[in-house]
């Protein structure tokens, strides 16, 4: 089970640039560390994060072993119309987490 936190402004003006902040719970195990008996701990990371704004992709990020646990990602977009932001994180071991957030454009 994983949690994600998403923060964006409650409402923005049309044409305005606003920030979207996301924080997601994930161990981001690199695959390079050794555990007990010297065995390698298998890699377990988020590979990709995408964000769509009313169905249009506005952000995509490929993550690697170099990203710390519980990744915090923030990015900006232009407010076009009221609607839904959809977020999806996918990764190793079938990891998949989806969240949505509402945005009101005044």
């Amino acid at each position: 089970m994983s949690n994600a936190l998403i923060r964006l402004p409650r409402s923005v003006k049309k044409g305005e640039v606003f920030e979207i902040k996301t924080l997601v719970q994930h161990p981001m195990e690199t695959g390079y560390r050794s555990g007990t008996n010297g065995t390698i701990i298998p890699r377990d990371i988020i590979e990709e994060m995408i964000c769509t704004y009313n169905g249009v992709e506005i952000f995509r990020m490929r993550m690697s072993s170099a990203v710390a646990a519980n990744p915090f990602v923030s990015f900006h977009t232009v407010a076009t119309e009221s609607g839904t932001l959809f977020f999806r994180w996918t990764g190793d071991n079938g990891f998949k987490l989806e969240e949505t957030a509402r945005i009101t454009v005044a």
């Binding site: 949690n3 936190l5 902040k21 924080l23 719970q25 646990a69």
Partner: protein, 254 residues
């Protein structure tokens, strides 16, 4: 009057090591870089908030043979304000002081009739982060229960006791040499103001006992088992030593 002054002087003279006066107590927060401070200040950037969210879910979930949730007895988590400020506290059923994590587990086994959470498990840290966060920005106020006195004194003795292969005591670093460098790191005063903390080195949330274990290993001393009364005694003394300081849980540390 003169006799009273004499007793006071005698008390001061017999005190083993100099405790940091209240006005000079300084949270480790002030020794961190600006980026880590910003991480703690912004609830959106503080990864400990992921555990708090999980704690809020657990708070409402019914558990155990009694089929009760935390919410059924305690109400909203906001009502747990100041609770974390006075732990460890004396437990009548255990007949010794217990810390907040142990109190949560006591609630689980005695009231919910559910199995206790393992120390440092995600669930236990989530609930203790949720409860601790309610006391944010309040001054630490250790319990005044007289039954705690001997345990607090034991904790103070452990703090001043040299141990491990390096033959160091907690007090040598944190009372006598705080503010100076140990390698590249600034030695903090070691006040438990933000536990459970998200430590970047751990990439996870951890309790005060995990942090104490870290220091003991650094001194090449044998760490106690999680939940050991020795840790609780140290926690008691550390909370007394930090009395009056502003609570900042859940903190972020490098």
């Amino acid at each position: 009057m003169r006799r009273r002054l004499g007793v006071l002087l005698l008390l001061l003279a017999t005190q083993a090591s100099a405790e940091i006066p209240e006005a000079e107590r300084r949270s480790g927060y002030h020794d961190m870089g600006a980026s880590v401070q910003a991480m703690q200040d912004d609830d959106m950037a503080n990864p400990a908030m992921l555990w708090v969210v999980e704690g809020e879910n657990l708070w409402k979930r019914k558990a155990g043979a009694a089929g009760k949730s935390c919410d059924d007895c305690h109400g909203e988590p906001e009502r747990m304000v100041v609770v974390a400020l006075r732990y460890p506290a004396f437990s009548d059923s255990a007949n010794r002081p217990i810390n907040l994590d142990q109190r949560i587990n006591q609630c689980r086994t005695e009231n919910q009739k559910a199995p206790a959470y393992a120390y440092e498990s995600r669930e236990l840290l989530a609930l203790s982060a949720l409860v601790s966060m309610q006391s944010r920005d309040q001054p630490i106020q250790p319990s005044a229960d007289p039954r705690l006195r001997s345990f607090t004194e034991a904790g103070a003795a452990a703090f001043a006791q040299r141990q491990g292969q390096l033959n160091l005591s907690c007090a040598q670093c944190h009372d006598d040499n705080h503010g100076k460098k140990l390698g590249a790191a600034t030695i903090p005063q070691a006040h438990p103001t933000g536990y459970p903390i998200y430590r970047l080195e751990w990439q996870s949330l951890g309790s005060l006992q995990r942090r104490l274990r870290n220091c003991l290993i650094g001194m090449r001393a044998e760490p106690y088992a999680y939940g050991a009364p020795d840790y609780v005694a140290l926690e008691l003394y550390l909370m007394k030593r930090a009395a009056g300081m502003s609570f900042e849980a859940p903190g972020v540390r490098p």
